[in-house]
Assembly symmetry: C2
Homo-oligomer: 491 residues x 2
């Protein structure tokens, strides 16, 4: 059965994206490589003079029996060793990208072997329900977000962002003169009914898109349940708004948390079970081509690859190609040769095995964190939902229960937040105050205020991560923070 084509949503393109032409020199490049043609048109250095004759890589071998953090022996048992030569003819593996190509100009969209792998991967995981989608490589989601802003917003436009979100994302849009307008969230992320109401009451030009980190949200650690994703998608179709789904943590999905250690799942999932258990992405609901998905290797391979990719309808991918031609061009050739060499040796199945092991690793870390919160944090004043994805967990505190709340702190929950932050620091553990992630509503014209309950007003939270420190330190740190908070509340 053929899938439908995307809708033409080009009217959402920014002034910058609309006025960007293709390179005039491109018309000459159709003659490049024609038999007999001496092409003196391009300023490409000869690859003979690239001073990198070969790069040899040692990567862990499928099935990663000792987990993602194992120190490999270097033997063929647990390590793949491969050499990427400058001169392609020496490369033995069929999908090797020789350095003569990856270190040369060209392939703004990414090297074909890598783009092909990413397309297959995307089809396998998300089954986009329309026909004309594609991918383009980026140098990570931070850059992808910047390119999205430039392609879809013009100074003075509004966008919708989660009430608490990644500060760098806001700084990027703010500096570009974009009005960030917060969407109401609860423990499970964006509240669809509130979003619908907000858009129904919207004053002035509609927002250009919603920006969401739907899975393992930063900072809240929440993940949008599938029914909310469906509702939000419907709302965006109705109001003709694009959806930017920023998904660096997508594959850091974990087992549900249970306090009962005997019920913790120790068995490895099969690949089918693993894929089947992944939360439905906005991309996989997208029948119109309204979703731009930002994916990255930063959290599943390494941040320093500086490589990610955007999935979107072809009309939009073409606009990213044009902006990349005059900005980043493409990810590093070393990155592309090394990552492609690794992934194409692993294969799609091997990559899933890697992600399955990563899931196990993050599940254990999350469990240590949440166990510690249960054990050391003051139960009477906190509440939290254990995360099912991502690197972050949050703990809510009822600020009104602080003994000095109504007196010394003048009923200001931010003063309680700061007191807990400082107490934690003194006890040698740093967690980030939730208010640091709060979006300043700078809508212009001002939008109608949304209702906030008294309880919500007095709720403060702290964000911690279980990704960045070894598990013994994690437990130790949370004990310190929990005890400090307990003492603060006089409990």
């Amino acid at each position: 059965m053929t899938k439908p084509l995307s809708k033409d949503l080009s009217h959402h393109l920014s002034l910058e994206a609309q006025s960007r032409g293709a390179s005039s020199l491109k018309t000459a490049f159709k003659y490049f490589g024609l038999p007999g043609m001496v092409f003196l048109g391009g300023g490409l250095p000869l690859s003979d003079s690239f001073p990198f004759d070969s790069v040899s890589v040692a990567s862990p071998a499928v099935p990663f029996a000792a987990g993602v953090c194992a120190k490999p022996s270097g033997s063929e048992e647990d390590t793949i060793n491969f050499k990427i030569s400058k001169r392609g003819e020496e490369n033995k593996f069929k999908t090797e990208i020789p350095l003569s190509r990856s270190l040369q100009y060209g392939y703004t969209e990414g090297q074909p072997e890598l783009v092909e792998f990413l397309k297959e991967h995307t089809a396998l995981i998300h089954h986009p329900p329309y026909e004309d989608w594609s991918v383009i490589s980026t140098v990570g989601n931070t850059q992808a977000w910047d390119a999205v802003l430039r392609n879809f917003t013009t100074r003075g436009d509004s966008i919708l962002v989660e009430e608490y979100t990644f500060p760098s994302a806001l700084e990027a849009s703010h500096a570009q003169g974009i009005h960030n307008v917060p969407m109401k969230m609860d423990d499970y992320g964006i509240v669809p009914e509130a979003l619908e109401q907000q858009l129904a009451q919207w004053v002035g030009a509609k927002p250009k898109f919603i920006y969401t980190i739907p899975t393992g949200q930063n900072p809240t650690g929440s993940s949008l349940p599938v029914d909310r994703r469906k509702a939000i998608y419907e709302i965006c179709c109705k109001h003709d708004i694009l959806i930017i789904e920023d998904e660096p943590y997508y594959f850091l999905q974990m087992e549900e948390y249970t306090q009962d250690v005997t019920k913790r799942v120790a068995t490895t999932k099969s690949r089918d079970e693993f894929v089947g258990a992944l939360v439905t992405s906005f991309l996989s609901l997208d029948i119109e081509g309204r979703v731009l998905r930002l994916d990255s290797f930063s959290k599943v391979l390494a941040p320093g690859t500086r490589m990610g990719w955007i999935v979107a309808q072809n009309r939009f991918i073409e606009r990213f190609l044009r902006i990349h031609e005059v900005t980043i061009q493409c990810p590093s050739g070393f990155t592309q040769s090394i990552v492609s060499g690794t992934l194409n040796r692993w294969g799609q199945d091997g990559y899933l095995d890697w992600l399955i092991e990563l899931r196990k690793d993050y599940t254990s870390k999350r469990d240590v964190a949440i166990d510690s919160v249960h054990k050391y944090f003051p139960k009477a004043v906190i509440s939290f939902v254990p995360p099912v994805a991502g690197m972050f967990f949050t703990v809510d505190f009822d600020a009104s229960k602080h003994p000095k709340f109504a007196t010394e702190f003048g009923s200001d929950p931010l003063k309680v937040e700061n007191a807990i932050y400082e107490a934690g620091l003194k006890n040698n553990c740093l967690m980030i105050p939730g208010s640091w992630f709060k979006v300043d509503d700078n809508s212009e014209p001002p939008q109608p205020a949304q209702e906030v309950s008294e309880a919500a007003k007095n709720t403060i939270f702290f964000r911690g991560t279980y990704a960045a420190v070894p598990m013994d330190q994690l437990a130790l740190g949370l004990k310190s923070f929990g005890e400090a908070a307990t003492a603060e509340f006089g409990l």
Copy 2:
């Protein structure tokens, strides 16, 4: 003797650059790594799980006895072999950047070992005459140019660009709503007197900066003589205009061309002679901190490193740091570890040796190209200045001497240009018509027209490169093109 400090030129920053804040989370990061502190503040993956255990590199060894294009034997004679491990303790070389660091988040400005090398290199070559300058890494000059536009221009601003220039640079500024205004050039680049006149007669807000490729200019192949550089620098100081010097070809400086093969210099220059013979950069004239120099590894190592750097006064470097934090972050960690591993083993002297060999290589290629133009192009209708730097040479034609000029072509030089282009193509050689690089003056408000002589009006040119094809093909191609052009002119 201490050098003077730069002038505060912050008033040149764009609306975007002025409104960009630092990350609010940064205040927490001062606690990162403190003894005893458990830092749960950042979403960094543990480097244990980066699936790259080591990368081993084979690079040519100093002194590159067989030239930059030699195929190394792999023996210690001509090859350095080094291994960069993920876990730093295994690295034996003191300036190795372990993958655990280069593949992690951090160091937006570039890894310290590499930044240090680039600073030393910059001091050695350019001796910037003021104290408070620094460097920041980029992902190449295309991105650096984009960052310059965003840091110093706001929609509606004007900039001055060379009359013929790199089309991608123009497309970037045009799409951002910037008015590109051409500066008059001759065979040696920007004409200072014309620039002074243009600025004296300027209508409306002064241009934000001049953008120039001073050495081996693209497309003209011209290089600005030092007296012009000095004059232009003075003019820019007088009118308070910044200078963007885009210098990808700086180290592709060659010996002067001579037709007399017996006079061609065969001896290798010493390092001191080499450095002494390099043309004076705008940076090395810059007593005020008015120059932003864009440097790149693309033409001297390989384009796919996707790495370059900006040299500028510290106030400006700080603004690039801020924009990079929310866009590219930094170059690929693989690139940084590999390039730093190579360059720090070569040392500053070894790097100069590499550049000296590159100079020899480009000199030979340029000689083949210019010899062929002398031999095969129609002398009666052409003129040219052999390039002393870069990848490009140009040949001017007097269009009025074409037999159909006044008749069939209606005295339109562009019709002659197209006829020669097509004739070349038919004869299997492509050179790019000069008009493709011509800047459309879109000044707003319109600036007074500059005088153009009758001869200049009828001069057309073609750009070729000697960088991209082996020398035998280069000679063959230019023979084809020259013969086609000769026939076109009925000679």
